[in-house]
Homo-oligomer: 201 residues x 2
């Protein structure tokens, strides 16, 4: 595992919680894929739990785990209805996932993620900005919701105004909020994310 | 070294160059400090070279290296006048450093970093945006240049408009350009960086 390089998005969270005294127990919502973020947390001594709604993404993460000899404990699940007790985790993490839900379901998912997070626990979640290249492309599904092909399949993305997701973090302190605009190929393509790291009161 | 957590800024670069076939030889300009980025590159098999103008920052990096049993090869030097031959490195990296120079010196430093980079080599460098909290605070030293106390000492910072640093990358392809705004403490403090990853033609 030592020399695997991961996409950079999760490191802000690891850095923020590096001195936290809480039990190292984390839930990742949308945990699958070729580079499962839980692998980094496992490497840093966390007890990892993950859910993903997609069998294909779980399979990719399982392949990664087998290759590196680690069990990340990722099971099928729906982030709008988590099968965990209240305050089960010190850390809840969700990266590049919640914006695949329509906004009504996002509210449910955020409530669920807060429910399973212990008091003083930390959460990471990122959203897509209305400034993202994808906003306005494809078929409109609702306000700020667009369906367009991704990897050959029609895929929903929800896009947010700069302060729109703030309201999801009631009863939490927002420790870090980042808006990052990434341009690739000399400005031809632009991704814009809004990230939050928050602590439950 | 395995469980050291670093500030997140360098990971975009590691991810971008992960499949590069070039010799793993890197120069970091402004390489000192408590968390020397070269440690991550060392961990990933790079031959590391670093310079820093500050004895104090070099000492901090040396302490880190001793603690973790690695020699990062960081020496005293000025990024405006590099003591290396043309095209000596496959990778040149400079994080949170070049914006401590006045803009005239920044032009020199960028020319020097490009000079010592081989053809098809990769460069990472970040700047401060005019949207950063620090822009306009303290004493004005020149257009976009401000001197204000930092860690108790008067410190110069240069701030850039969104596309102002583009001109430094002539004869290079800009592969990734990121503008990231980070808010801390519920919006009380705001850092805004503009990062570039570019490849020499």
């Amino acid at each position: 595992m030592e020399h695997v390089i991961f996409p950079p998005r999760m490191y802000n969270f690891l850095w923020t919680i590096r001195n936290s005294p809480l039990e190292k127990k984390i839930l990742d919502c949308g945990a699958g894929g070729n580079y499962p973020p839980l692998a980094i947390f496992h490497q840093h001594g966390f007890e990892t739990h993950g859910i993903d709604i997609s069998d294909k993404q779980i399979e990719k993460a399982t392949t990664f785990g087998q290759k590196h000899g680690i069990d990340l404990n990722i099971v099928k699940g729906n982030m709008c209805k988590l099968e965990y007790r209240d305050e089960s985790f010190s850390y809840v993490f969700s990266q590049n996932s919640i914006f695949h839900l329509i906004k009504a379901d996002t509210t449910s998912a955020m409530m669920e993620m807060k429910r399973v997070l212990r008091k003083e626990g930390f959460m990471y979640v990122n959203f897509l900005s209305v400034n993202d290249q994808g906003c306005g492309a494809g078929e409109k599904a609702g306000p700020g919701e667009w369906i367009a092909p991704e990897h050959g399949e029609p895929t929903l993305h929800s896009f947010y105004e700069d302060n729109e997701p703030d309201s999801f973090f009631d009863n939490m302190d927002i420790l870090l909020k980042t808006k990052s605009s990434m341009e690739f190929e000399n400005g031809e393509y632009r991704m814009v994310h809004i990230e939050y790291i928050a602590q439950k009161k």
